[in-house]
Amino acid sequence: MSFAEDHRETTKFPDPYSLPLEKLDVSDSGLFSAQEHWRYFERLRKEDPVHYCPDSEFGPYWSITKFKDIVAVDSNFKVFSSDKTIVIADPREGEDEFDTPMFIAMDPPRHDVQRKAVTPAVAPANLAKLEGLIRERVCKILDDLPVGEAFDWVDRVSIELTTQMLATLFDFPWEDRRKLTRWSDISTAGPDLVGTEYATMTEEDRRAELEECLAYFLMLWEERRGNGDGTDFISLLATNPDTKEMITNPYEILGNLILLIVGGNDTTRNSISGGLLALNQNPKEFEKLKANPALVPSMVSEIIRWVTPLAHMRRTALEDYEIGGKTIKKGDKVVMWYISGNRDDEEIDRPNEFIIDRDKARHHLSFGFGIHRCMGNRVGEMQLRILWEEILNRFDHVEVVGDAKRLDSNFVMGITEMPVVLHPKKA
């Protein structure tokens, strides 16, 4: 018996083809955890690729569902603004006084100087220097795992590895590294994260923890202000002439550091978990990989396409814009559904199949495009590549032995728990 099937609640969502088009709302978080969203997007791509939903939990919004349209919107920063927020939900009541600006949610020129200040930490030259260290840590994580008994892959591998990588990029005190994971979870907490403590957390508690996060970072900032050679995120921000004045607005420091934590956390974590699940669901691909480990890099890209760790990014139109025969009006909310574009058969061959040796594997939307294109894309890929190289050195199979629990979210395509058993290679 195989447990590597997706966990499905009894379906509570209507067949998308039974609904009038204007009632089709893809923003319901439950659609994603129930894995019912695929056919909704399939219908939109076919019948109404630029779709207006007049009424939803998040108010009226446009959905962009085809690959090419998404690239066009994503790279047109003059019309489609990232200012204030890049998710479908508008900022919560009261969030205005607790404003934590971050460059993912800014337009040029502010976005540009801040992004450039921290880029060196994740550019290929710096990553090449870190590769040996990351490999050592991956080996240690894998060698410490129990053999022959079930354990949670998400906690022991996905979270642990991404947390260690982040701690390295921040040059963060090692013993405190799980604070980073905690702060990441806290800052994305919200009522949509059903079934986690973050769903019910009060705004006061949340703020209190984020204040603690800020105090911790300000201490590190103070220590590193003179560290002009540092290549960690904090030293880079604290010493760059364009960003060192940020100290006058500590919440902007907090916002940007949270961006760097969150950006690198859930995304890579869920690619690690989701990739393992995909290989269990596609045993022939797993065999292909074992027979030819040189496929790891293209598999990594395929995993990132397959999982699409962030289902969407949101923009706000600054002027009227024609696309797909529709007119988006100035001020409208526009949602680019990467998760849909990554299944667009006009751009990707056999998009609903997981194929580790696909042609043009890097041609996917999961990192976005344009000026906000994921800054950490090479870091994410490197972690997955090293992890899979070292898994293949050690194990014959990493078997998923129970349900993968999925997060209720229309943004983070998360797996919160997934039990596995290791089968070491025979000597």
Partner: protein, 106 residues
């Protein structure tokens, strides 16, 4: 038709012939020249087909659009002769073109 040469970061040269009208990025990808990722597929929406055009060819390679300038602005290791290969169209004029590849795309 033009013959163009790509020189990898490690010095390896690849000389290929390309039909007019294709882009320099397609010239690389169609001929399996390593080091050009072309993630966006030629939409000038990433910067993973970054090349350095040899100075003698800079003018013939044409002008950069605003969008190309913007995307290059976020790439690493850019220089005055940096271009995105997807934005250079092959023509007879470019027969003999030589470009260098960065150590890594970003």
């Amino acid at each position: 038709m033009a013959t163009v040469t790509f020189i990898e970061g490690n010095g390896t040269e690849h000389t290929v012939t390309v039909d007019n009208g294709l882009s320099l990025m397609e010239a690389a990808v169609n001929n399996m020249v390593p080091g050009i990722d072309a993630d966006c597929g030629g939409a000038c929406a990433c910067a993973t087909c970054h090349v350095y055009v040899e100075p003698a060819w800079e003018t013939k390679a044409g002008d950069k659009s605003d969008m190309e300038e913007t995307m290059l602005d976020f790439a690493e290791g850019t220089q005055g002769n940096s271009r995105l290969a997807c934005q250079i169209k092959i023509s007879d004029e470019l027969d003999g073109l030589v470009v260098r590849l960065p150590e890594a795309q970003f």
